[in-house]
């Protein structure tokens, strides 16, 4: 494989009918992926019985959940928790990441703390938060935020440090007030990193919410999954997980995907 051939694929291919081609490829890709996943799943469900449920049982279970009241209540509860934690972690993490990236002193102060925060196993965060704050919503929220924010700030920090310093100088010369310069010069440079961070934070929030609900909350999707697991109902575990994963995927594609398209217009 030479560079020129591989790059022609990305930069040189003429794209007059890109629309339909793209669509076909997307559909083909989705089919390929889903089919191969299905094959792997089926194989596992035969070889690792009864741990891995059969796709058939799982689909039935999905149907059952989709028609039950409790599922939706849990769904919205968990979504709410994820949204709250995701927002808080993204905002705090991004703010911290920017501060650290801009200033060596701030970096020197926070970097070891962040590294430590990253090191603490999630269950510890959660349990300590519950012990300190009681078992209300606050504990889960604080634990999630504490656990996710350092990840976000790491990503943002790297990007801040890689920024184009020439643009900083330009804004200084033209006396663009620093708050404005922040929004028009720095933040757009960080957009790719912020989007990555948002993806990260969204994904981690979900992973953690499962643990939080398993350990400290009697309700929500995570609790349902763990409850099902305790009862060894693997088909329910997988069914609930898949349903929720699909929903989250829709949300991410819909919101983040659209945002990305908008924010990166200038790159064409």
């Amino acid at each position: 494989m030479t560079l020129s051939t591989s790059m022609q694929a990305t930069t040189l291919s003429p794209r007059p009918k890109a629309g339909t081609m793209d669509r076909n490829i997307r559909i083909l890709g989705a089919i390929l992926a889903v089919a191969s996943l299905f094959a792997i799943w089926t194989t596992l469900s035969i070889t690792v019985r009864p741990w891995v449920p059969t796709p058939y049982d799982t689909v039935l279970a999905m149907g059952r959940h989709l028609t039950s009241q409790g599922f939706y209540a849990n769904l919205f509860l968990t979504l709410g928790r994820i949204a709250a934690a995701f927002l808080a972690a993204s905002v705090i993490g991004a703010a911290l990441g920017i501060a650290i990236g801009m200033n060596r002193k701030v970096e020197a102060f926070f970097q070891p703390l962040l590294a430590m925060a990253l090191a603490v196993p999630d269950p510890v965060f959660i349990i300590f938060a519950i012990l300190a704050l009681g078992t209300g919503e606050a504990a889960g929220f604080v634990a999630l935020t504490l656990a996710v924010a350092p990840f976000v700030s790491n990503i943002v920090r790297s990007s801040v440090q890689a920024r184009d310093k020439g643009l900083d100088e330009m804004t200084r010369i033209y006396r663009i007030p620093s708050d404005k310069a922040f929004w028009v010069s720095l933040v757009p440079q960080l957009v790719p990193a912020l989007l990555t961070a948002a993806r990260f934070s969204f994904a981690l929030s979900w992973k953690l919410v499962v643990v939080v609900e398993a350990i400290g909350q009697p309700d929500g999707i995570g609790a349902s999954i763990f409850h099902s697991f305790r009862l060894l109902r693997m088909r329910d575990v997988v069914a609930i997980a898949i349903l929720f994963i699909l929903l989250m995927q829709l949300l991410e594609k819909g919101v983040l995907g659209r945002l990305e398209k908008r924010l990166l217009r200038w790159r064409q």
């Binding site: 349990i127 400290g216 009697p218 409850h227 009862l231």
Partner: protein, 311 residues
């Protein structure tokens, strides 16, 4: 050596492990024809570990769990009882509550609606007092060990827990049983109470190793005998208290007192008891929350499954 190996597991910190500790310390395994590999596992992973076949016999499964596993296609069965219901609702000494009914609307800590402890307490309260704790109590969920500080800090008004945490909680809060599952239910039914833990193994293992199964059973009987003979003072042995994670002698005092009062272990495994236990399970299945059906063979007598010893 040519003595076959048997891998036995119990949940770390639970009383189900005490017979194992005694077997190991007193050499009861060799005496009964097997060489034991004893493991105490954290509660999060104990069930998985047994179900995937990483140990031969688990000492800490309740019959509800066995019924669930069987229903889901795991060929496991309980072949001997172990622990009585050394669990219940504990309140601090200054609590005004007298019966579980008084806790309605109050904050109660437990470690999961799907845990054996909660399920037993729930169905017993349902039967004795006619209400569902899951609906009437404000639950907080945390691991069994962490519930004790929670109660001590006053974050909850009561907890559902099992020994030795019961003793720890009593000591820490000068507390008492609001409901002692075994004693109160026996009193209510006039004799029968389900037990909590069992010796559980895969059916195939039992069929392949009948002598070993009998050997383990005998070793357990002897271990229980040792405890009862010493009036549970044997729990003061270092290897047991450290195995249970008890550091203070005061907790031990409470525990030994509780043990003497409520008797921790049982080896009554008669068809009648098994019958009654099936009845209990069927009751749960009718209600349909944790169980929808009671599969065959949740409990077996070795005599029925593999024939008389030495046969």
């Amino acid at each position: 050596q040519d003595v076959p190996e048997v891998r036995l597991q119990a949940v770390a910190g639970s009383l189900g492990g005490v017979p194992l500790m005694i077997m190991e310390a007193e050499g009861l395994d060799e005496k009964h024809g097997f060489s034991g590999v004893f493991e105490l596992l954290p509660s999060d992973s104990a069930a998985q570990n047994f179900l995937i076949g990483n140990s031969d016999i688990a000492m800490d499964n309740d019959i509800i769990g066995v019924a669930i596993a069987r229903a889901e296609g795991f060929d496991v069965t309980a072949f001997y009882p172990i622990g009585r219901l050394y669990l219940g609702i504990i309140v601090p000494g200054d609590s005004e509550a007298e019966t579980p009914e008084d806790l309605r609307g109050m904050r109660v800590g437990h470690f999961g609606a799907d845990s054996g402890t909660t399920m037993f307490i729930r169905s017993i309260v349902q039967e004795m007092y006619g209400f569902d704790v899951l609906e009437e109590y404000q639950f907080s969920q945390l691991g069994p060990a962490a519930l004790v500080p929670l109660l001590e800090a006053g974050d909850v008004d009561a907890i559902f827990n099992f020994e030795s945490y019961v003793s720890e909680a009593m000591l820490a809060t000068d507390g008492r049983y609001l409901l002692q599952a075994a004693a109160d239910y026996e009193e209510f039914t006039g004799g029968f109470a389900p037990w909590i833990t069992n010796m559980v193994a895969h059916t195939s293992w039992l069929q392949e190793n009948p002598e070993l199964a009998y050997g383990v059973r005998a070793a357990y009987d002897e271990a229980v005998q040792i405890m009862q003979d010493s009036n549970y003072e044997v729990l003061r042995e270092d290897y047991i208290s450290s195995g249970l994670g008890i550091t203070s002698p005061e907790v031990l005092d409470v525990m030994i007192e509780n043990a003497a009062t409520y008797d921790y272990f049982t080896n009554v495994w008669t068809p009648e008891v098994i019958e009654a236990a099936y009845g209990f399970l069927n009751g749960l299945a009718e209600e349909g929350r944790v169980l929808t059906e009671v599969p065959e063979g949740v409990m077996v007598r070795l005599e029925d499954l593999v024939g008389e010893p030495g046969a």
